[in-house]
């Protein structure tokens, strides 16, 4: 039976690059996938593109391509990535330049466009899922609207001979499903095969998170050599059989436990993992260790794809101002608490306009609130943190300034003050009727 090996070269935009090179050189893979586009990244990239029309793609695109292209060409590995972000065409052109500069001008490079559905969303005035309102009502706060495309256009580009396929917004598992659909000719209505392929893509999409990253918890869960963590390989057969593994002698571990944790990562109802191409069902998945760093995953299923596609809408939500300062030694906790009370009163006295404020002590109660941390013992040092949401930057700046004034006006021996103020690009979702998304393929000529 035919089998392909797909490597996962990045779990997010800023991920390590050497493990991807290791996959290209020693992974015996035919496909290398880079998933680099977080929920909000495309909106931030859209902001960059508005300032400079040739930008708007992943900031590490150049570094990654320079690092892996020679080995990928030498070993016949095709690349699929969503590093196109808000500008897949410019990303493909940049990749073309890099390939040419490496003497690899015969590479066929394709961009998938059409995920930008801002116009369709605006005119159809679709309702927002997370809060009351419509896309139109976001007015000039609206930055971007990108639909999660499926595996179809990527598989088609591979079918037309593309060596590198660069997308913008696409469903993360679809980046992995596409090579399977292409290599095996899976019909786009074989829901069980697409469901099992989605399980594979879902397990691989966060790269190191299935090979022992985001897992170690000594002494209960130990993972060897995290500084040299190897990225995963999915060995997929024509019938959907799947083994997750990694390059021999790389760091980390692939075990039933790492696979189970990743199977449920960011999953809600496990019987309905909704994707552009299929509604995947994880509730019958079986996980078995079949060798060292080899885990067989079977039993992924699926039902029909949804009638609508999810769209990520990026918008300017608000502004956040923040200030921090540290106290240490005997009485640090009491001085930290006093500092928080002072800032709380000051923000009231000076009439700060904020819709939401947080007062907390890093090292004590900043992560899970006062209730869960009430049993903890007194720390040697604490860090005061005050953060607030405002309607404009001027108000946001005042929050950090007020914390900073604790230097000369607050409790004794406060040090290391820090302040920041920024606009908040947030993301909301709408559902777009499938027929309104019309992706297409652009080949960038050598």
């Amino acid at each position: 039976m035919r089998t392909i090996r797909i490597g996962s070269g990045a779990g997010y935009s800023g991920d390590r690059i050497e493990p991807a090179l290791e996959l290209a050189e020693k992974g015996d893979i035919q496909y290398l996938v880079f998933e680099c586009l977080g929920e909000r990244t495309v909106a931030l990239a859209q902001q960059a593109r508005m300032k400079n029309p040739d930008s708007g793609y992943d900031p590490l695109l150049e570094d990654r391509m320079l690092a892996v292209l020679p080995a990928c060409v030498a070993n016949g590995i095709k690349i699929v990535t969503n590093m196109g972000a808000a500008n897949p065409t410019a990303a493909a052109q940049k990749t073309r330049e890099i390939a040419n500069s490496l003497g690899l001008s015969s590479l066929k490079i394709a961009a998938i466009v059409g995920d930008d559905v801002l116009e369709a969303c605006n005119t159809s005035d679709l309702p927002i899922m997370e809060f009351d309102g419509t896309v139109k009502q976001l007015g000039n706060r609206l930055l971007s609207a990108n639909v999660y495309l499926g595996a179809g256009p990527i598989a088609e580009a591979l079918g037309k001979g593309a060596d590198i396929v660069i997308t913008g917004r696409a469903s993360d598992p679809a980046l992995f499903l596409a090579p399977m659909v292409h290599a095996f000719g899976w019909p786009m209505n074989d829901w069980n095969l697409l469901g099992q392929g989605t399980v594979a893509g879902h397990l691989l999409e966060c790269a190191g998170q299935i090979t022992g990253g985001y897992f170690s918890d000594p002494p209960y869960k130990d993972v060897p050599d995290l500084a040299r963590l190897g990225f995963p390989i999915g060995e997929v057969a024509e019938d959907g059989s799947l083994v997750i593994t990694k390059v021999a002698d790389s760091g980390g571990a692939v075990t039933a436990r790492t696979c189970k944790e990743q199977l449920l990562y960011e999953v809600h109802d496990p019987t309905r993992y909704i994707q552009p191409d299929v509604t995947a069902d994880f509730s019958h998945v079986k996980v078995e260790e079949v060798g060292k760093d080899r885990v067989r995953i079977s039993g992924g299923r699926g039902t029909s794809r949804p009638a609508t596609l999810k769209v990520s809408v990026g918008y300017i939500d608000s502004y956040i101002g923040e200030g921090q300062i540290s106290y240490a030694g005997p009485g640090a906790l009491a001085r930290g608490r006093l500092a928080l009370e002072i800032v709380r009163e000051r923000l009231k006295l000076t009439g700060l306009a904020a819709s939401e404020l947080r007062f907390e002590l890093i090292g004590v109660d900043s992560l899970h609130g006062a209730e869960l941390s009430s049993q903890a013992s007194e720390p040697y040092e604490v860090r005061v943190r005050v953060a607030g949401r405002t309607e404009n930057l001027r108000e946001a700046v005042r929050i950090g300034n007020e914390v900073e004034t604790l230097y000369t006006n607050g409790p004794a021996a406060g040090g290391g003050a820090f302040k920041s103020a920024r606009d908040v690009v947030a993301v909301a979702s709408v559902l777009l009727p499938r027929e309104l998304a019309t992706p297409s393929i652009q080949f960038v000529q050598g």
Binding site: E261, Y265, H268, K286, R358, L367, G369, L372, A426
Partner: protein
């Protein structure tokens, strides 16, 4: 004992919703999870964190539970004021839950 003794866990985020998996190290401990890591207990444990509902999904196929908690991420990952906007550290808090060990000895005497 703590839940940490018999289970491991991972947190994921989507918008303002956090999901936390609870996976038995040993399949034989799955009934303990089912009986004691209930929706009500998880909701109470995270009373200071979760504003919405807690829903539990059962996965006997991998001896795991999946808790989906709405209104758990300070208005959403992309807009939260929280230091840990993704709520990635929530799994560690859940593993602190107190669990009554199974009464194995008594069972074998009976």
């Amino acid at each position: 004992m703590k839940l940490r003794e018999i289970a491991h866990s991972r947190t994921g985020d989507k918008g303002n919703t956090s999901n936390i998996s609870v996976i038995a190290y040993l399949e034989q401990d799955y009934p303990l999870l089912l009986a004691q890591v209930t929706t009500a207990r998880v909701k109470a444990h995270f009373a200071g964190v979760v504003q919405g509902e807690v829903v539990r999904y059962e996965l006997p196929n991998i001896a795991a539970l999946n808790f989906v908690m709405t209104g758990a991420l300070g208005g959403g990952v992309t807009r939260s004021l929280a230091l840990d906007a993704h709520g990635k550290s929530l799994s560690s808090a859940l593993l602190d839950l107190e669990i009554e060990p199974a009464a194995d000895n008594q069972a074998s005497i009976e």
